[in-house]
Symmetry: C2
Subunit: 348 residues, 2 copies
């Protein structure tokens, strides 16, 4: 961090040029493209200094300089100005909703492709995590024999379902009754509480429903878990456009990693806590062992209680400024869509 002004400028110039061109930057190129008022020899000295400090490196003795991960880090923390033109984004948000999937799942897929297209990287979205208290409606549909399909509707319009087996055959009519009962109660308490309440009532009367309640409770947990594990990846082939992945082995590893969505989930979840856009550069991320990859991630929300993560995975040499914008924009867009479409409890 103890860089004087000129050093900063040179570092920025090198990284900018490298991001743009993809090939190592030599002193003469720098002198031609920028006007530092010094000769190439001086630049060589400066670059040697920057290399000693760990911000730049050499692929080989007689090649130009490329940024190290540390260099990128400094670049992002101190050098690029992500203009906070929130008005500009706001404007865009007003006019171009662009996403219109009316199923949550569809919306997520669309959004991940949207991210990918704008960023030229792979777009990744982690489905919103639900808290238990938000069920709006629970429905039971009897299929054949002892099979019952439970349908959960959350207040933001997400529909989930789970098939269960129960011991005794129950009439659809009774199921409807139970459903109505749950709908009524769910306004005031969580499923866990209702279950507790039923356990107390058990000696009195409705013994039949106890098992159903238990199954419902368990199913709701299953369903939550399942939904929380969903990762949408869109436009992965975008990443292959950049020459960084001309190496077949790397490509292969990349796609293997993408198929193991669980790891991705863990990685992305780590950053959920904080607000704002975060950038993970190359080796900085411990879970995703992929050399030469960076991630730009942000959060989105719906109303207030539902929050998910979204972001972009691309080569370390990416257009950070632009990508940060795109992620920011998409996060806001998604939040807005989820917020307005599934807004909670206004008229309950």
């Amino acid at each position: 961090m103890d860089l004087d002004d000129r050093n900063k400028k040179v570092l920025q110039a090198v990284i900018d040029s490298y991001i743009a061109s993809g090939s190592p930057i030599g002193s003469t190129v720098l002198v031609k493209r920028f006007d530092f008022g010094v000769s190439s020899a001086t630049l060589r000295n400066i670059m040697a200094d920057l290399e000693e400090m760990g911000y730049l490196t050499h692929p080989h003795t007689s090649a130009g300089r490329i940024p190290t991960d540390l260099g990128y880090r400094y670049y992002i923390d101190s050098l690029i100005s992500v203009e906070n033109d929130s008005e500009d984004i706001e404007e865009h948000l007003q006019q171009a909703p662009q996403l219109q999937g009316d199923d949550l799942q569809e919306l997520m897929e669309e959004a991940s492709r949207f991210l990918a297209t704008l960023s030229h990287c792979a777009g990744v979205i982690v489905a919103p995590s639900e808290s238990e208290a938000t069920y709006r409606h629970i429905e039971f549909v009897r299929l054949r024999g002892r099979q019952v399909l439970i349908i959960f509707v959350t207040s933001n319009g997400i529909v989930q379902n789970k098939l269960i087996d129960i011991d005794e055959s129950i009439r659809q009519q009774d199921l409807n009754g139970f459903s109505a009962y749950l709908d009524e109660e769910i306004e005031h308490r969580s499923l866990a509480e209702i279950r507790q309440q039923l356990i107390e009532k058990i000696k009195e009367e409705k013994l039949v429903f106890m098992q159903l309640m238990d199954e419902t409770y368990r199913a709701s947990q299953d369903v939550q878990e399942r939904e929380n594990e969903k990762v949408y990846i869109g436009g992965a082939s975008q990443m292959l456009e950049s020459p960084e992945f001309a190496n077949v082995e790397k490509m292969r590893a990349l796609f293997k990693a993408f198929e193991d969505k669980y790891k991705l989930l863990k990685l992305l979840d780590r950053s959920v806590s904080a607000q704002g856009i975060k950038v993970f550069i190359g080796s900085e991320n411990p879970y995703f062992e992929m050399q030469g990859c960076s991630m730009v991630v942000g959060n989105y929300n719906a109303g207030s209680n539902v929050v998910g993560t979204l972001g972009v995975i691309g080569p370390t040499r990416m257009q950070y400024k632009q990508v940060i914008h795109v992620v920011d924009y998409t996060a806001k867009l998604l939040s807005k869509l989820l917020g307005e479409r599934f807004q909670r409890g206004l008229d309950r």
Copy 2:
């Protein structure tokens, strides 16, 4: 088709060897590995004949022979014996269900990965197409204001939903009533018929529900369309293992093609009509412009009325015999699972 016995044997030997090794097969190799009772010179003559007939070709003058698409076609149609050991498969089906997703979607994803793992190719599954008449239950859930979520449950346990806006605010109670009415009627007629019936009733009374009915009808079509467009691709990275795709450009094109699922869908749908396993070799398939790729596809069903397609996409040089087995097995497995789990109308 006018091949004498010896020519057939040589063709088979060449293709078998090429599939196994991946490199062009020369006359000496053939003479060493197989016992034709003739010299390499004679084999050269035979191979030259086969080349003239279009079954084999040369990468260059002094290389061994490799099969043409026509050669593969002949190989599959006439030379390989896919032993119809249906007992064997039956046995497997009995003991190892292997797939256990309890959501249809989950099951499809699992199955596509299953295909990929066993075949070392990419596994592709087209979601079962529904016919309109199979709804088991239709449910309306009022969200805020004029938004209503319609939930469709088909008789095989697939849940679909769609958000609609209606003109006037309706009470949840009324919605429940309408739902019950539809549930009752849907037993006897299709949605289209019910709609017709309501139109006739319109002058009399229930004017309010007409709009809802229209929306419901439209939504059901949307939902069907959406479900029918779903293609699940699993284990795409499996394909990259084979040296055929060491070429970066090919890999890139492949993944681009995979992301455009619509084309895949069209391609796979074409073969839905017929029963049994079909093999499309390289250039034989008109929609999917991907050189060096073959597809092995089959059908699955659930009960009787629901049918989908599943298959495998891999390099033209694939282990056809084995892959055909795998596709056959998976199709039967999936049919069995869907059949037993979502069996229709046994106790209605």
